[in-house]
Amino acid sequence: MLENLSIALGIFASWENVFVLFIGVTIGTIVGAIPGMTPTTGVALTLPFTFYMQPVTGILLLLGVYKGGNYGGSIPAILISTPGTPAAACTVLDGYPLAQQGKANKALHMALYASCFADFVSNLSLIFFAAFIASFALRFGPPEFFTLIVFSLTIIAGVAGDSLSKGIGSAALGLLLATIGLDLIYGTERFVFGEVELLGGLKFIPVLIGLFAIPLVIDHYSKKYVPHVTAPVGEEGVTWAEWKRCFKSILRGSLIGVALGAIPGIGGAPASFMAYSEAKRTSKNRDNFGKGEIEGIGAAEAGNNGVCGATMIPLLALGIPGDVVTAVILGAFMIHGLQPGPLLFEQNITMIYAIFMGIMLSSLFLLIVGKFGIKYLARIADVPNSILYPVVLVLCVFGAYAIGNTLFDVLLMMVMGVVGYIMMKFAIPAAPFLIAFILGPILEDSFRQSLVLGDGNFSIFVRGPICWFFLTLAAASLFMILKRNLGSKKPAVQSTKSDE
């Protein structure tokens, strides 16, 4: 153990890693602070820059962008009532009213402290639980992995959008696209049509950038220019008494974030709303919630950032990404020839420890970047989209070309961009598509390996308690999502009014 830790320290403790992590947190915070840009877009655009890096360095850069982006989303939420990320939508409820009272600085600082604290708690949970779950997952065979992925995809498809059927449809399209290339068992061609570039299947990065960045660029040109008014930041900060008063809600929010983040597909937005509603329910100042209550900001941001480390638990322990950003990080592992999952803990434990060290440091960097950059970051929300989106497009083109030095990848990115835009217009969530696209080959492989093991008998998929456990979870979550969907459709008009 100690020997592994010292080797891991050797891997992590380089100026390059520390610098890259700091840059990642800074880039992420800036990206998150730009309305319309999400941590997913930030991570997608940063990914091509990691090709030449060592695996740990590249992954730390992406993690830095992820964590910075999650916090950065609170800045425009507070200043211009436009959440930089979906997860920061809850921060608007109290952040913007506080900014209108001339206390934006107080709101921004509370968001920062709550984010850093929750991030730290989330990192600790990752370190404590990932190895334990990974050691348990060593017992999994192909049928167990198949049922686990089915369960994960069910949840991701169910909670990613407003419609369960569109979520499942999106996942099915992703699985279908993942079948392009050579057959896993027989080596015969599937949907290749003589195109050499398709023999190895569609590359993950052009698909990712195409789905998550290009649709934003296209959509920008169908919209009117709407100027926004940025609230002045002010001077008043968070007092010790205020921090103490909010601490219980922040801690509770962090734990809610951890619990929800560890379940594949849930993400930051539900966690922040649940943390906020729990804080509102238990607070002495509940009447002030929605009117500029600092405790509401702390709870929402804690819930939102509490998921960051926890989403890495299923990724590192099981090889299953918890959300789109961790799916991108899974892609980054694969680019470097590594497959996250229980075997990674056996074969590359020093690398895992090195990543843990970086993750812990990222919370501190988040505090530093946020604390010293608040006044400058507040101005980022003013960057006009008219200049931002052409810049994003050029970054996409360079990134897509850099993968394989071929224009085919740029073309693939553009095509996926148009597909992503059409999906956006039909309200089809892109997250299940991408995660299914990444997990597709693993899912198919475990499906066919299971059938080989079971001599073609489908009863292999219910061979033991682990399979039953995941299948029951999948069925139960499907039932609950369906119930929620049907329940929310009936009083559509009323529910919009009673959102508060």
Binding site: Y52, L175, Y186, I387, L393, V394, V410
Partner: protein, 164 residues
Amino acid sequence: MTFKKYSDLLLGGLLILGCIFIITVLIPVGVQDPGYVEQAALAPDFWIKIIVWGLLAIGVFILVQGYRARKRDDAEALEADDQLPFPRNVISVLLVIVFLFIYQQSIDSLGIVAPSIVAILLMTTFSGYRNWKVIIPVAALLPAGLYYFFLKVAHIPMPLGIFG
């Protein structure tokens, strides 16, 4: 008629037609038969067929859902108020999509830097932004900076086309 009101009907229809096309044309033509297959479930097209039949069922479900939703109150089907008026929004989007493919095609002959400069200039001005003190430095420095980053730092060659 608003797009949002009929979008599920359209989506369901497209999914059903797409799935029928995949089952009847793409799978027979695009999935090679290995000749001998030990078990039917291990055949290269078995997994694909499961996905496509599932997708077809979802398409039918969305179509039915769309048919029922069509009868709901029109107030629910209002377009977002931040959109440009029709048909300007559609024309703008189509122009941008066409431009994206011209941009991609031009990289082969003109390299990656020059078309990127033109892309930034055209796309910023297309959306009505006219602050040349910002546009020109960004258009000139960003592609050049990215080119040198990938070439010198990441050691990934980037095309320069006729300028190389």
